[in-house]
Amino acid sequence: MTTGYAATSAARGRYEAWTPARGTEIIADHLAMEGATLPILHAMQETFGYVPQDAVPLIADALNLSRAEVHGTMTFYHDFRHEPAGKHVVKVCVAEACQAAGGHVTSAQVSKALDCAFGETRPDGQVTLEPIYCLGLCSCSPSAMVNGRLIGRLDDEAIEEIAAECRS
């Protein structure tokens, strides 16, 4: 028997296709909350893999906000995607503690191994590579998050494993 909590990581390929009906349902689930905008945006992204543009007026209407306010909130935060990500999502920490442990070199290596620039999705849709500012793994840096899974002490072997995973 094992005790403990399990962090939910986004399982690939489980996203639903956007429908206004499903969007309305998600909004309705959150209406009792104070300050429901961010929880709704998170739920949209968890369900559809991104926040569809068509969701914005629905959220605005339900929360009695203007579309500009919802759009403004959504675009302020780095997390919310405007379009679906690649099949695999790789986030590499580029903050100071990882820089101190050679992060400049490893992040370039990851980019090369994945044939993908930071902040972009590869044209074949296989992988999205993003910089991230700190995963809280600063004592075992450099670190990365691959499809929701954490990796510390990023070395050549780990980079090769990431590249292999992203080929699948």
Partner: protein
């Protein structure tokens, strides 16, 4: 009841180093051998170079450790008698005797790494909820005074006395009030909030409950950054358990007080660690910083009186209530009372979390506790207090870890993170990164931060390219002056710390002559 019990940390750092695979390997091996062994996914002890650090309760009730354990070590370790606590390769004995651990004074992190994070029984068996019991006995006003008397100051970085914040909210007329926990631990080099939420989540729940009781707030929010999925899962799990056991909800623990709380998840904006920006975000808006006054204590979340404290501040409260303000304030240095969980990170040999009384010197922390760099090269610079903290050269290693001592050296202790760099570091690049980071994360509300950061990057690029260096460095210094004095919050206001400290202490990296103090060494 299982015959044996082993601990395999579920802490994110341990998991990043393979702890899930190790736990699975143990589970598979026990199943194959038909052994009934309980695997507890505990928090981390904070000695991250030993992770995954597996502990076993021996037949004599002692707890011994093995680490760092790789999945392929599991078979041989079991053969060698791990379940009986036999000495084998990777054997560490009693992990509390390891110097890194033995030298600490663990008040806030007393349970972290020891208990099962989601066992309320375990929590209570290790002094959990004693603080709340005392607070219920004392009542609100006396609880506020107890926290004030402890000398506790905000562990998020600003160092503002927690008791004064609580008093201010307690003195507002009765109405809906809030306790907000700032768990937006965005500073690189820090992970104390993450560790305690993952390893001992009930402590935060108890701390927030005591805060609610003290000031008359009935609702709490933990605003946790999205980069911490394990912490979010642990907090949500613990809140559910506490609610079911009557420690959250109406008439908590059989008292006349009501308090409930929930976790809200951030969305990748560093500036939301600033308290007013965090409140905007909780309300569902862009994380734009608010001008103060009004203080959050008067008009905070949804315009209501709000206590907003960092995770570690709130997690220090149960100890203070349970053991008395004096026990806490008896340790420390100057006006910095109690203990600080210090995080050793970056290029460090013995990285992890080290909780001790204020007053230890920076040099002791880096060289003795941290063991210097893992690359084995000489330490050249350490950044203390996150991306907005100053870079210190080794010539300032005699600085005591204390809010005021660091301020005197034009630095800050911030949230207690120390990032160590070896002699390969290019300080001009680090200064440029500080400006770049400020530009990426600026909320855009005030001009010094929004424009200053972009101009800072452009100008430092010219310095790095060797273009009109002296004049451009003067522009950078001028920019820093304006940002420091003219920004609304610490993002723009403190970005000058890393930039100016790099230029002051490491002028040779900017094409200026070496400073005398460094040259003399």
């Amino acid at each position: 009841m299982s015959a044996h019990k082993i601990y395999v940390p579920g802490d994110a750092a341990a998991v990043a180093l393979g702890a899930d695979k190790v736990a699975q390997a143990f589970a598979d091996a026990f199943k194959a051998k038909g052994l009934d062994v309980q695997i507890v996914r505990n928090g981390s002890r904070g000695m991250h170079w030993l992770e995954p650090l597996v502990e076993v309760v021996t037949p004599f009730g002692r707890r011994v450790g093995y680490g760092p354990v790789n999945p392929k070590d599991v078979g041989p370790l079991l053969e060698a008698g791990l379940l009986e606590g036999q000495s084998a390769s990777l054997y560490l004995g009693n992990v509390e005797k390891i110097p890194f651990f033995a030298k600490q004074q663990r008040f806030t992190f007393a349970r972290c790494g020891i208990v099962d994070p989601l066992s309320l029984d375990d929590y209570k068996a290790h002094d959990g909820y004693k603080g709340l019991a005392r607070a219920i006995e004392l009542g609100g006003p006396a609880t506020v005074e107890e926290v004030f008397d402890s000398g506790l100051r905000g562990r998020g970085g600003a160092g503002f006395p927690t008791g004064i914040k609580w008093r201010t909210v307690a003195q507002t007329p009765p109405q809906q009030k809030y306790i907000v926990c700032n768990a937006d631990e965005g500073d690189s080099g820090t992970f104390a909030d993450r560790m305690i939420m993952e390893g001992d989540p009930f402590t935060l729940i108890e701390g927030m409950t005591i805060a609610g009781l003290a000031v008359g707030a009935t609702k709490g929010y933990v605003y946790c950054r999205s980069e911490y999925p394990h912490a979010i899962a642990a907090m949500n799990g613990a809140i559910k358990i506490a609610r079911k056991a009557g420690y959250l909800g109406q008439r908590i623990a059989g008292s006349d007080y009501d308090f409930d709380m929930e976790v809200r998840v951030g969305a990748g904006a560093y500036v939301c660690g600033e308290e007013t920006s965090l409140l905007e975000s909780l309300e569902g808006r862009r994380g734009l910083v608010r001008a103060k006054p009004p203080l959050p204590a008067h008009k905070g979340l949804f315009g209501r009186p709000t206590v907003i404290n960092n995770v570690v501040s709130l997690c220090s409260v149960p100890f203070i209530l349970a053991n008395g303000a004096k026990t806490y304030s008896d340790v420390g240095f100057g006006r910095s009372r109690g203990t600080m969980p210090i995080q050793l990170a970056g290029n460090v040999k013995y990285g992890g979390l080290f909780e001790c009384a204020f007053g230890i010197t920076l040099g002791e922390l880096v060289e003795e506790v941290g063991g210097g760099t893992f690359t084995g090269r000489p330490v050249r610079a350490v950044q203390v207090g996150g991306p907005l903290g100053a870079y210190f050269p080794t010539s300032l290693f005699d600085t005591e870890f204390d809010y005021e001592a660091f301020a005197k050296k034009d630095g800050l202790i911030g949230h207690g993170g120390i990032v160590i760099f070896d002699d390969t570091v290019d300080m001009a690049r680090q200064a440029r990164f500080a400006m770049e980071f400020c530009g990426v994360e600026s909320c855009g509300k005030c001009t010094p931060c929004r424009i200053g950061a972009v101009r800072g990057v452009e100008t430092l690029d010219k310095v790095i390219a060797g273009q009109d260096r002296e004049r451009n460095l003067q522009v950078v210094e001028d920019l820093c002056h304006t940002m420091k004095l003219g920004s609304l919050c610490a993002l723009g206001g403190f970005t000058p710390y890393p930039v100016m400290s790099a230029i002051t202490h490491f002028p040779e990296d900017f094409g200026r002559g070496a400073p005398l103090s460094v040259a003399a060494e």
